[in-house]
């Protein structure tokens, strides 16, 4: 929004899994923090509906890419922390390669616009 545009819904949807996995590959985190990281990293241009993050997290957990546990923060607030598994890392690795292929293809094709 800073530059007057934001990422389209379809692209957001397609990139949700790799982004979540990438954030968690840096260390354990919880929903709100993941969301904030996405906002900051994309300069507020990736418009996620906050609540929609959780079905993604739960699905990844069900698929064995993540594990979760409840923890009480220093402030006393209870949060559900997610951690990436080896399966998740393998999945991230593959997704990242695929993104790179797409990105490279875009660059090579070039064109106008």
């Amino acid at each position: 929004m800073s530059d007057g545009f934001s990422i389209s819904k379809d692209l957001v949807a397609a990139s949700a899994t790799p982004i979540v996995l990438a954030i968690l590959s840096r260390g354990e985190s919880y929903g709100y923090e993941i969301m904030r990281t996405v906002r900051e990293a994309s300069d507020d241009r990736m418009n996620w509906t906050d609540g929609m993050l959780y079905p993604v997290l739960h699905r990844l957990e069900a698929a064995g890419s993540l594990t979760s546990r409840w923890r009480t923060a220093d402030t006393g607030r209870r949060r559900k922390y997610y951690r990436i598994t080896d399966t998740g890392r393998a999945q991230l690795h593959e997704l990242r390669q695929q993104w790179e292929v797409v990105h490279e293809a875009m660059l090579r094709i070039g064109g106008d616009g």
Partner: protein
Amino acid sequence: MTFDIESEIRKWRDLLRTGTSLGAGDIEELESHLRDSVDDLSERGISREEAFLVSIRRLGATDTLADEFAKLSTERVWRQLLVPAESDAGRIRDRRELVVALALAVLAVVLGRLPLVFGSQFPDDAAVYFSNLPFFAFVPVGGYLWWKRSLPTRYLWTTGSVVALFAVLINVYPDHPPHDTRTLTGIHLPIAIWLTVGVLYAGPGWRRQDHRLDFVRFSGEVFIYSVLIALGGGVLMALAIEMFGTGGLEIEEFVTEWVLPSGMWATPVVAAYLVERKMGRIESIAPVLARMFSPLFLLLLLSLLVAILVTGNLPGDNREALISFDILLAIVLGLVLYTMAARDSADPPGWWDGLMLALLAAALVVDVIALAGILDRLTTFGVSPNKTAALGENLVLLINLSLLAWGYGRFLARKQSYRTLVAVQMRYLPVYALWAAFVALVFPLIFGFR
């Protein structure tokens, strides 16, 4: 009007709980997110009210949110192009849940036949089956909740070992006539075991007042579903006996000795599954019933008091009367609890709260009379397990009803919030578990297993 964020969050949570199929864990996770978001935005200088509104909007509309959680991915926006198998994840989990519930129902039936291994036949040794009933019926419910909440295994270990300890002790205790302590154990054990199951219901949040209130609501709904299932099952069995009977086949023995008990043991876990799945959306029927019967029970209590005043007969004159008084008081407590579960804590005092106070006051007077009766019997006939248990029950109820009456009084006088009242009541709940466990386990020791 000032903005009360706690009450807004509660309303929002209620909306999610009653209007959607989100589980307690999901809701807590979203709530934690919401609070983080509000704090974060407030730190940037936005008022809390505005921060709350922005945060809610960012979380998304509750119904779409709920759909997302329910289906866990069929919506096209979030369908992952790269992991197509997952689009069925939600449906698979639904199906798996049904399988788990049915498997646990079978487990209940198998557990219920466990005494056969130790040579106890049904119905000849009905007492053994009676005192072990909560193990057959509630343990599967615990297992189901543990699975449903995806709780860590240590929950299963801790609650499991508590229950196992109960099971071993109850069954190694000797038993002598007139079997008073065994009967008392049979009555109190279900309460202790059910409240232990409550820990699995609430999961990590079992200390929190709102989770306890959810468990109260859950218990009421499980009870109602169980009664409905029992009614249907009863009709089915009666019909079966009748139909086979006309064909010259006597199946009554088979039905009463095998089908009926098996159905009884398996009912709670099936009921728990139905409540959790919010089938048919009758989730608020417990509070509705509470509302319907509260005035009627007030009427009953008042006419009882009048009868006592007119005839001068104290209820302490016989034991049965004392027990029915205890039951009456327990029902009053249940009515107040379910009214509590249905009420929005943020609402100001109304005439209904006045009626609750009247109900509590009448119950208190009756309780004091019952207590006098018990003390009278204790001094005349000496100590017995039954009277001591009745006395204990009465004291536990008396303290509880007094706390509630006091709380309602202060609430009606606008000296405290409804939330405080609920918090006090929820904090009191474990007392019942402790007392029930005490009667079930320690009474037989004190009274020499008689």
